[in-house]
């Protein structure tokens, strides 16, 4: 870097580095100034870009006149573009997005279309959630049952049973009797939660020195 600032390297080195994105902030400013002041730097810039383009794709190898024509027409169109001078009133950003070209009565319709679309979106999400939930429950039940541990296995979902803070519980009934099932959810035994609370609260915490047994208990019965 110090060599470069001494100007001992070929002058176009910085331009090349600029194209490759290898210059630091101050060097970028210097290279841009060079590009502005030195026609040969601009020429080098174009040549380097062209080399890069051709290396990437043959289609990009075109004559300079084509580029010039494109640039000229772009400038023309830009100049013809009307300049917006009237300041825009402050509106909520969503509304700006929702009605980019308000011209006539269409506006009224667009107004309610967005919320409706959102409602529809939520409905879809909700349905998908319900469907996946049910699927999840059924699948898991299938998997557990298929494991065939000595007895029937039932997946328990704690959803809808306020006193439980424990997520899923897998119950293996020893006598092979199906446990209480309601709508695919096994009714959580509130007593089990009591045992769990007593076990975790006053037994202390598993592992040494965890801040407190109460902490684990707090987690185990968060919903209570």
């Amino acid at each position: 870097m110090s060599e470069r600032s001494d100007g001992k390297l070929p002058p176009m080195e910085d331009v090349s580095a600029l194209i490759d994105g290898e210059l630091d902030e101050s060097a970028v400013a210097r290279a841009c100034a060079q590009w502005r002041d030195d026609p040969s730097a601009r020429e080098a810039w174009h040549t380097y870009q062209l080399i890069g383009d051709v290396l990437r794709s043959d289609d990009l190898a075109s004559t300079a006149s084509r580029d010039n024509a494109f640039l000229a027409s772009l400038r023309e169109r830009l100049a013809a573009e009307p300049v917006v001078l009237a300041p825009q009133p402050m509106i909520a950003p969503t509304e700006i997005l929702a009605q980019p070209a308000v011209v006539n009565g269409d506006a009224g319709r667009r107004h309610w279309r967005t919320p409706m679309a959102m409602v529809a979106g939520f409905a879809v999400v909700a349905t998908v959630l319900v469907v996946t939930r049910m699927h999840g429950a059924n699948d898991a039940e299938g998997v557990l049952a298929a494991r065939g541990d000595s007895a029937a296995a039932i997946l328990v979902s704690s959803a809808g049973t306020p006193p439980s803070g424990v997520g899923n519980l897998q119950a293996v009934d020893r006598q092979g009797e199906p446990a209480m099932i309601l709508d695919g959810n096994l009714v959580r035994d509130a007593r089990l939660d009591e045992y769990l609370a007593a076990h975790k609260k006053f037994g202390g915490s598993s592992g040494p020195g965890a801040p407190s047994g109460f902490l684990r208990n707090a987690a185990a019965t968060a919903g209570r």
Binding site: S158, P162, G165, V166, G167, N168, L169, Q170, A171, V172, D173, R174, Q175, E177, A179, R191, L192, E194, Y195, L196, A197, A198, H199, K200, K201, F202, G203, G204, S206, G207, P208, G209, A210, P211, S212, G213, F214, L215, R216, A218, A219, A220, A222, G223, R224
Partner: protein, 347 residues
């Protein structure tokens, strides 16, 4: 030439060892030294350091506990002033609940239900004697190894691995704060090395001085609250007509109490005759523990034998003569079965 080169490398290594902070080098070298006596002493030193930091430091942070598929977070503030300890835990998920502990006195407050429960910790168990009593035996049943260093909750931590020496217990991974010894993260590892349960600070400030007033704020105004004071009496299994000498090596009875079989939160009928009593005994190997609940059997209350797993906690429920036995423990299921087999009726 080669001799000189080798000499240079060893001097270089020595330089680095000397440059490391003393305690890090100490921990790494001593724990993995291969000398049984040194490792034994170091294991105890580490555990007591962790234990002491948890009770004597002042800290504040958010702890996330995940057990099985459930995740819950709590805000914890611990403050130590001389001999007095204050602790407040607010559950951040589900219904609001505050646990406020002043030394042995524990308040649990459910502000929405306007219910408060007051308990004394020493009535129900000998904690913190629990771990102190078992601390000496820990090196007989677990091996502690240093497993490098990691960053947890924005702090540098030593990673320790606590491996069981037999099949009867789970392993643990511990992240211990380098500066203070506070446990920043723990994992309970199953038989195949999978994580059964984990608890970690997501953020923590150590050495803060919270005001005791704000700590005790949830229990200042309990007017209009239903205040429950469950009673538990210290007893012995033998006195209640039972005996249990654990077949699992390392486990000892650390507490045994007798209390009402109904949880204190259940509505109790005032004139409903004598309530069924429950005996609750806790066994520990110094790291983990098993709780045995014994209560009179009733067909209505105890519909069926059960065997469940929630996170790292196994549960075994079954009928034993005229009693209903519930075993819970953060141990593999076969260990609980050994406990169940060892339980005997004396009368």
């Amino acid at each position: 030439m080669t001799a000189i080169g080798r000499g240079r490398i060893s001097w270089f290594a020595l330089f680095w060892i000397a440059a490391l902070p003393v305690h890090v080098a100490h921990a790494q070298a001593a724990l993995n030294s291969g000398d049984a006596l040194v490792e034994r002493r170091e294991t105890k030193a580490w555990l007591s350091r962790i234990q002491e930091a948890a009770s004597k430091r002042s800290y504040q942070g958010t702890v996330v506990v995940s057990s099985g598929s459930a995740v819950a977070s709590s805000r914890i503030t611990h403050h130590c002033e001389g001999r007095d300890q204050f602790e407040r835990i607010d559950s951040l998920d589900g219904q609001a609940r505050h646990v406020v502990r002043q030394n042995e006195k524990v308040h649990t407050v459910w502000p929405q239900r306007r219910v408060a429960m007051v308990e004394r910790r020493d009535q129900l168990s000998s904690f913190p004697g629990l771990l102190q009593a078992g601390g000496d035996r820990v090196p007989d049943y677990y091996e502690l190894h240093s497993a490098g260093q990691e960053r947890v909750a924005g702090r540098e931590a030593n990673v320790l691995s606590l491996r069981p020496k037999d099949q009867h217990r789970y392993g643990y991974r511990l992240w211990v704060d380098k500066a203070t010894g506070l446990l920043l993260r723990t994992e309970v590892l199953g038989e195949r090395g999978g994580v059964l349960e984990s608890a970690a600070f997501s953020d923590v400030a150590i050495g803060v001085r919270p005001s005791v007033d704000s700590l005790l704020q949830p229990i200042r105004k309990l007017d209009g609250f239903r205040v429950l004071q469950p009673v538990a009496l210290a007893t012995r299994l033998e006195k209640e007509g039972w005996s249990l000498s654990p077949k699992v090596p390392g486990f000892q009875e650390v507490s045994c109490v007798k209390r009402s079989a109904d949880g204190p939160l259940r509505a109790q009928s005032p004139g409903g005759g004598p309530e069924p009593q429950m005996v609750q005994a806790v066994f520990s190997d110094g790291i983990t523990y098993v709780t045995v609940f014994i209560e009179p059997y009733s067909a209505e209350r105890h519909p069926r034998a059960m065997n469940t797993a929630i996170g790292a906690t196994q549960t075994l429920m079954h009928r034993h003569a005229d009693a209903w036995i519930t075993l819970m423990g953060d141990v593999p299921a076969p260990t609980l079965r050994l406990f169940a087999e060892a339980l005997e009726r004396r009368q």
